[in-house]
């Protein structure tokens, strides 16, 4: 009996072993198939990314690397690649009154414009979020300043700020001052440093506002209405609903929009170039316009590149801080 049982046990063990072996083999086969599929997927992925990588290298990385090199060289237009001068271009800029003025202008321009665009952008988005008649048409019209080429629309503003034909001055005189018996105002919008700076900031706000409004509007539409209903039940008024529901949920989007806008505003060129060319007395020069003047007006490519890259480390820090803040916020919410 025992012998027969042992034989049966042995047979059972053999079957079990064989079954396990087949299962392992099947698993190994599946694993090999999985690996090869993964490899194929990885190759396909790389192949798909390669064209984009090529164009980014050609159109972004290469010019950026060239600008970096120029900024540490004494390259002049048509004079070969110049020689390495270390940080001489950057230290010379710190001693340059025009550059210091430009630095101050850029900070005033960017901070004022981005702050105004953020506040007005949220306000505009809230208005557009409400149920309005002709909503689609209004939303389309709001986008116009962002869609029209900047150089073209700024030419329109140039006429509006013209010392002779300013429609703004004319309207103020006709509609406001004239009826109450005040003497007509004679304003030279682009002729004094303070007014010229205000003018370029206004045009930048006008142009950048749709970007803020539309992005914030997208964020608003993603907020579930239940949150507002719950807040209402809790007794929150209009301001309370904005402060405790809308604003916290919009914060990540606002952070991204402010980040992009800060970079775009710092790098603005067209508005100043068309309206004031940096004047009067360099009071509206920004990094891009000064860089253009140095690189193409006086052929100092190295110095021009140094101007354009001067704020790069600062912007990198700003970007890093904002992204860090954004990530922290997301983690907290998760």
């Amino acid at each position: 009996m025992d012998g027969r049982r042992d034989a049966e046990d042995l047979q059972g063990d053999a079957i079990a072993l064989a079954t396990a072996g087949r299962a392992r083999a099947r698993a190994a086969g599946r694993s090999r198939g999985f690996r090869s599929a993964r490899r194929l997927e990885a190759i396909t992925g790389v192949a798909l990314i390669l064209p984009a990588l090529f164009w980014i290298s050609l159109l972004v990385a290469y010019p950026f690397a060239m600008a970096l090199y120029y900024s540490v060289s004494n390259t002049v237009v048509g004079g070969g690649s110049g020689t390495f001068v270390g940080l001489a271009n950057f230290t010379a800029l710190l001693d340059d009154g025009s550059f210091r003025q430009t630095l101050q202008n850029s900070v005033v321009f960017t901070v004022s414009a981005v702050a105004a665009k953020a506040v007005l952008g949220v306000m505009l988005a809230l208005i557009l979020h409400r149920t309005l008649r002709l909503k689609r048409l209004i939303r389309g019209l709001v986008l116009l300043p962002f869609v029209i080429p900047t150089a073209l629309s700024t030419l329109g503003w140039l006429w509006m700020f013209d010392s002779l034909y300013s429609v703004i001055t004319w309207t103020v005189n006709r509609v406001v001052l004239g009826p109450i018996g005040f003497a007509p105002l004679e304003v030279n919008w682009l002729g004094s440093p303070a007014l010229a700076m205000a003018a370029v900031i206004v045009v930048n706000i006008w142009r950048g506002l749709p970007f803020f409004a539309v992005t914030v509007l997208a964020g608003l539409t993603a907020i579930p209405t239940e949150f507002y209903e719950a807040a209402e039940v809790d007794g929150a008024g209009r301001w309370g609903r904005f402060w405790h529901v809308t604003y916290p949920l919009l914060k990540p989007i606002l952070a991204v929009v402010v980040l992009f806008s800060t970079i775009f505003t710092f790098a603005d060129f067209n508005i100043v170039y068309v309206l004031t060319r940096g004047g009067p007395q360099e009071s509206t020069h920004l990094f891009a316009t000064l860089s253009h003047a140095l690189a193409f007006g006086s052929m100092q490519l190295g110095r021009g590149a140094a101007v354009s890259l001067f704020m790069f480390p600062v912007l990198v820090v700003v970007v890093a801080l904002q992204l860090h803040y954004l990530q922290r916020d997301e983690t907290r919410h998760a």
């Binding site: 002049v76 048509g78 682009l190 060319r277 940096g278 003047a293 140095l294």
Partner: protein, 427 residues
């Protein structure tokens, strides 16, 4: 024998392969690739018919020289960028339009062309302004093409109403301008970041005996009693005869002032008159021109001396030189001047009697300005230092400081300091 698809492909493929191998083995490009193309780049002229005529002249040359031609025009502000890009890439057009300091800045990349211009100069006599601008380091680097006559443009109606004579000197202008301003028709020279501002004030500065640099082009001479005299005049002209509008003008600001009918006098090329005439504006008949004004040191005129250079790296240097010889044939150049309607002044004395200026009483005085033109930076050459100064609008900014209340001495010291930095740092 029936031709199958396979047979067709193999036969034609073999034939194409043999043909291409023959070209490679011979080392000679096929005939279609050998045909040369002469290319030129220039700013878009204010008078488009001038560009159209130059295109035709290039086409006529192309037929004769058995080559293709292409004439590209871009707006004035884009030319320096195109020049910079082409010089850096060592590739681009064959002929390029340069003016003032751009000839000097690109001198190492421009071919010597005295074999063309010496002969043209002998036949037609080049004005000294063009020679001082484009004859660099003992060589003709750029072919003189045209210059712009900056003259006094005034509204005759306002002058008649005030019973005023046209000014002969800058001081006359201040007196006349004061009267015009009282009558609501101010005079205007831009004191702002625009090229016309630099050019006009440089003209006044020279007439007062002041200068930015000495003849060597390296010694700074702006801080001087003559400059103080010039700035004192500028301040008085501004307060007596102008309004603050000039502080915000671009290059078209003075055009707008006169064409509005409100302006009494401006310093500009004749584009204002030509635009009014072209559009048949009612103000056309009221516009007049008078010759350049003199100062205590004499009469000088700032302008833009324009020329055509040939890149050294061009593959068609000889062809481009042949084109210049073709362009400078008397009938061709005459026809181009006529097409430019008198806006583009001849750099050669030979053409100063051209009918385009003779037949319009408002233009007859223009060619007479030729001998008075000087290059930017005069009495020095238009160097990289001058280009760097102009890119920062130093001269208008010095004047803006003075009219804004900065003491003259402080304004001169400021500009001297800025120039010292530029001279020290610019290569």
């Amino acid at each position: 024998m029936a031709i199958t698809r396979r047979r067709f492909l193999s036969t034609t493929g073999a034939a194409a392969g043999a043909a291409s191998m023959g070209w490679l083995a011979g080392g000679v490009a096929p005939a279609f690739a050998q045909r040369r193309t002469l290319t030129a780049l220039a700013l878009s002229l204010f008078v488009p018919s001038g560009d159209e005529r130059l295109t035709q002249i290039m086409q006529e040359f192309g037929k004769q020289a058995n080559c293709d031609v292409r004439f590209d025009t871009v707006k004035v502000t884009d030319v320096p960028i195109k020049l910079a890009a082409e010089a850096t890439a060592q590739a681009g057009h064959d002929l390029v339009n340069v003016w003032e300091a751009f000839g000097y800045l690109h001198r190492n990349n421009l071919a010597n062309i005295e074999d063309v211009i010496d002969d043209v100069g002998r036949r037609y006599e080049v004005y000294p302004g063009h020679k001082a601008t484009f004859h660099i380091d003992g060589h003709w680097k750029v072919a003189p093409w045209y210059w712009l006559s900056f003259v006094g443009t005034y509204n005759t109606k306002h002058f008649k109403a005030a019973n005023l004579q046209t000014p002969k000197t800058w001081d006359d202008l201040r007196k006349v301008g004061a009267e015009l301003k009282k009558r609501g028709a101010p005079v205007g020279i831009a004191i702002s970041n625009c090229t016309d501002s630099i050019l006009s004030w440089r003209t006044v500065m020279w007439c007062y005996g002041a200068k930015e640099v000495e003849a060597d082009g390296k010694t700074i001479a702006i801080n001087s009693p003559k400059t103080a005299e010039f700035l004192d005049y500028a301040k008085r002209l501004y307060s007596d005869a102008m309004t603050s509008e000039v502080l915000s003008w671009d290059d078209a600001g003075n055009n707008r002032l006169i064409l509005s009918g409100k302006g009494g006098w401006v310093h500009n090329p004749v584009s204002i008159y030509l635009a009014a005439k072209d559009k048949d504006m009612p103000i056309t008949g009221e516009l007049g021109h008078h010759e350049g004004l003199a100062g205590p040191a004499g009469r000088f005129a700032g302008t833009f001396h324009h020329g055509l250079g040939i890149w050294k790296f061009s593959k068609n240097v000889d062809l481009a030189k042949d084109f210049l010889r073709f362009l400078y044939q008397e009938d061709k150049f005459n026809s181009w001047i006529a097409a430019a309607k008198g806006f583009c002044m001849s750099p050669f004395k030979k053409f100063e009697g051209h009918e385009v200026w003779r037949k319009d009483p408002n233009l007859t005085l223009l060619p007479k300005e030729g001998p008075f033109t000087r290059p930017q930076g005069w009495p020095g050459p238009p160097t990289q230092y001058i280009a760097a100064m102009d890119s920062k609008y130093l001269l208008p900014n010095m004047i803006a400081k003075v009219v804004g209340g900065t003491p003259i001495k402080d304004a001169m010291t400021w500009m001297e300091g800025e120039m010292q930095k530029i001279f020290k740092e610019t290569l």
